[in-house]
């Protein structure tokens, strides 16, 4: 009998579950145990204090760093019943529990002992809104999103088979008239146009509704403002104090509108950044490779948000997500240069390599004489000029380079100071970089 009969979950390098197409993560809960109370120590593994993710298709359980057990999942399809949450006096003190029945469905990979259904209990030890979770659980279970995906693929294969068998007939396999020839194309165009038009109209209707509401809201706000302004003048002295009090209250109310409920942010906070951090680690790989192993944090912010489309994150969230990398085993790090510029770079990226390249660049005869600018370095190193400047500055702080600030700009030279004899300023040793420099300036004239 298999020890763990739940479905294994594929994880990305950063430890995020690989989702199937159309699968959306809906809810995160930390500190969740999964266990089967009916049959302890049998087929169902006891999964202790992990992260429970509810998606549209599955319940995914991921182990914490400290917890034991493998990442597992229960397809919502195999759940035959979700038991309603019992409110008892006992349940007030104990950790909330959610029970659901899993039916055996070998084709989905969930095997139970024999063919009996079992009741699985999720114990929610962590903080988190249990009721909201249950509501969402029900919603997803009823929505049967997995069926859409299945019917999509199966109808696709049916259509292909149908097309092959019924290619000579005028009816297609699903009974509609097949589109043939130019008229077919035109009709298809027409249909598409009509459906686009309809969806556009729907969209505009929604928009109109929103606009009319917005107008009302603006009017309401305006009204309140006017009332507040005119308040003191129209009142008699006797009621002034009371009015002032309510006015202040009103203003406070107005101010607080639009601020995201801090409770929500608090409760979602820790997990949100953790997941964001892992997702970001996966995302960063490609752009990082393209930009030579190091990339500006601002660039990543833009790329990441563009990839996310509408669900934009704030710079602060990004920073938090990056700073969490230290705790995970990811191959990238957030690095802050002395100038304050922050970059993301591969752990394997070594400064030595960059410094060697800079040294070679800066000891060429022309560079010896006239120095190099950040853009010269950018071309050699294959990075952005701003990035190149950071490299030059850190090479400077290592004593490899030194700077020349003049009306011509900011340039870097190989550090000759360490080469010059203190006791004999006129001495130029035959060998060494100082001699090469002297030769370079004399060759130039």
């Amino acid at each position: 009998m298999a020890r763990n009969s739940l479905l294994p979950v594929k994880l990305t390098d950063s430890g995020r579950p690989v989702l199937s197409p159309n699968e959306i993560e809906c809810f995160f809960l930390s500190g969740v145990d999964l266990l089967c109370e009916d049959e302890p120590n049998t087929w169902f593994p006891h999964l202790k204090s992990g992260l429970l993710i509810l998606t549209t298709h599955r319940l995914i359980w991921l182990p914490d760093a400290t917890a034991s057990g493998n990442a597992s999942s229960v397809p919502l399809a195999s759940i035959s019943q979700i038991f309603s949450h019992k409110k008892s006096l006992k349940s007030v003190f104990a950790s909330p529990r959610v029970r659901f029945q899993v039916s055996p469905s070998p084709e989905r990979g969930v095997a139970t002992s024999g063919s009996r259904s079992v009741v699985v209990t999720a114990v929610l030890r962590g903080k988190g809104d249990c009721d909201a979770f249950v509501a969402k659980f029900w919603e997803n279970w009823r929505a049967r999103a997995w069926e859409e995906a299945e019917s999509g693929t199966s109808s696709g294969s049916n259509a292909a088979a149908g097309a092959a068998s019924a290619s000579s007939g005028i009816y297609s396999s699903d009974g509609t008239v097949r589109m043939v020839g130019v008229s077919g194309i035109l009709r298809k165009e027409q249909e598409m146009w009509e459906s686009t038009d309809k969806s556009l109209q729907d969209a505009f209707q929604d928009l109109n509704a929103l606009m009319s509401k917005a107008k009302e809201m603006v009017m309401l706000a305006e009204k309140m403002r006017l009332k507040l302004l005119s308040g003191p003048n129209s009142q008699t002295n006797a009621t002034n104090d009371e009015e002032m009090g309510s006015k202040e209250e009103m203003q406070e109310l107005l101010l607080s509108v639009g601020i995201i409920s801090p409770v929500t942010k608090e409760s979602a906070g820790a997990l949100y950044h953790q997941q964001l951090s892992r997702q970001l680690a996966d995302f960063v790989k490609v752009p990082l490779e393209r930009s030579g192993g190091i990339i500006n944090l601002i660039d990543i912010y833009c790329l990441f948000n563009r990839a996310r489309g509408t669900e934009l994150i704030s710079p602060d969230d990004l920073l938090q997500a990056c700073s969490l990398w230290e705790k995970f085993d990811v191959p990238i790090v957030l690095r802050k240069f002395d100038s304050g510029v922050m970059v993301i770079q591969n752990k394997s990226q070594s400064d030595e390599e960059v410094f060697t390249k800079i040294k070679v660049l800066v000891t060429k005869p022309d560079a010896l004489r006239a120095g190099i600018s950040p853009s010269d370095a950018a071309m050699t190193l294959g990075v952005a000029p701003a990035m190149a400047k950071e490299h030059l500055l850190s090479a400077e702080s290592k004593g490899i380079l030194c700077r020349d600030v003049s009306p011509d700009g900011f340039r870097f030279y190989i550090n000759l100071f360490s080469e010059i004899e203190r006791d004999d300023m006129y001495l130029v040793k035959d060998q060494g970089i100082y001699a090469s420099w002297v030769r370079a300036i004399h060759a130039h004239g």
């Binding site: 120095g371 400077e396 702080s397 004593g399 030194c402 700077r403 020349d404 600030v405 003049s406 340039r411 030279y413 550090n415 000759l416 100071f417 360490s418 010059i420 203190r422 300023m425 006129y426 130029v428 100082y434 420099w437 002297v438 300036i441």
Partner: protein, 179 residues
């Protein structure tokens, strides 16, 4: 090799970063070191006793590479000399700096040597004669800065090697050696 008057300039005088105050500590220390030596050498060669920080000073500008020291850099280099006892600020605003390519004690020794060489062990000499007289011609004392000379005289007076007596005017001050 480039020259400033009689003074031979080292190669690194044409190294542009030499004229930018380096921000990295180790590099800056070495840079300051080289500047200190150059300033002292130059002043000694040209008998320059006072450097005005915002005034033209040939060393602080290199027209060949079109570089010039900033005020901050000048002050940093001169301050380094001051902290070593090889220079002194003449005012609180750090605008004028007295360069002591000989320390006051060394100047005092030179004075005594001068007295011996000219048989003045018990004799009298005016300050004017020391600074611009024929006796001092060709010695380091010729053209010596008044402030420095006074300091050296005071030092010797404390040791009882000489007495400074005043004449009718400041130009008229005299010294009686008693070596």
């Amino acid at each position: 090799m480039q020259k400033l008057g009689e003074f031979k300039l080292p190669h690194f005088f044409n190294y542009p970063p030499y004229f930018t105050l380096q921000p990295v500590r180790d590099t800056r220390e070495k840079q300051i070191q080289l500047w200190k030596e150059l300033i002292i050498d130059y002043c000694k060669t040209h008998k320059i006793f006072v450097i005005g920080i915002d005034e033209e000073f040939p060393l602080f500008t290199n027209s060949l590479i079109e570089r010039s020291l900033t005020h901050e850099a000048r002050e940093a280099f001169l301050s380094a000399l001051v902290s070593e006892g090889r220079a002194e600020w003449m005012d609180k605003g750090h605008r004028k700096c007295l360069i002591l390519w000989h320390r006051v004690q060394e100047w005092a020794d030179i004075l005594l040597q001068f007295a011996k060489d000219n048989g003045l062990e018990d004799g009298v000499v005016t300050i004017e004669e020391i600074r611009f007289g024929t006796e001092s011609h060709g010695t380091e004392l010729h053209g010596i800065d008044r402030t420095i000379l006074n300091r050296a005289l005071k030092l010797l007076e404390q040791k009882g090697k000489l007495v400074v007596f005043k004449g009718t005017s400041t130009d008229d001050e005299g010294i009686k050696f008693s070596v």
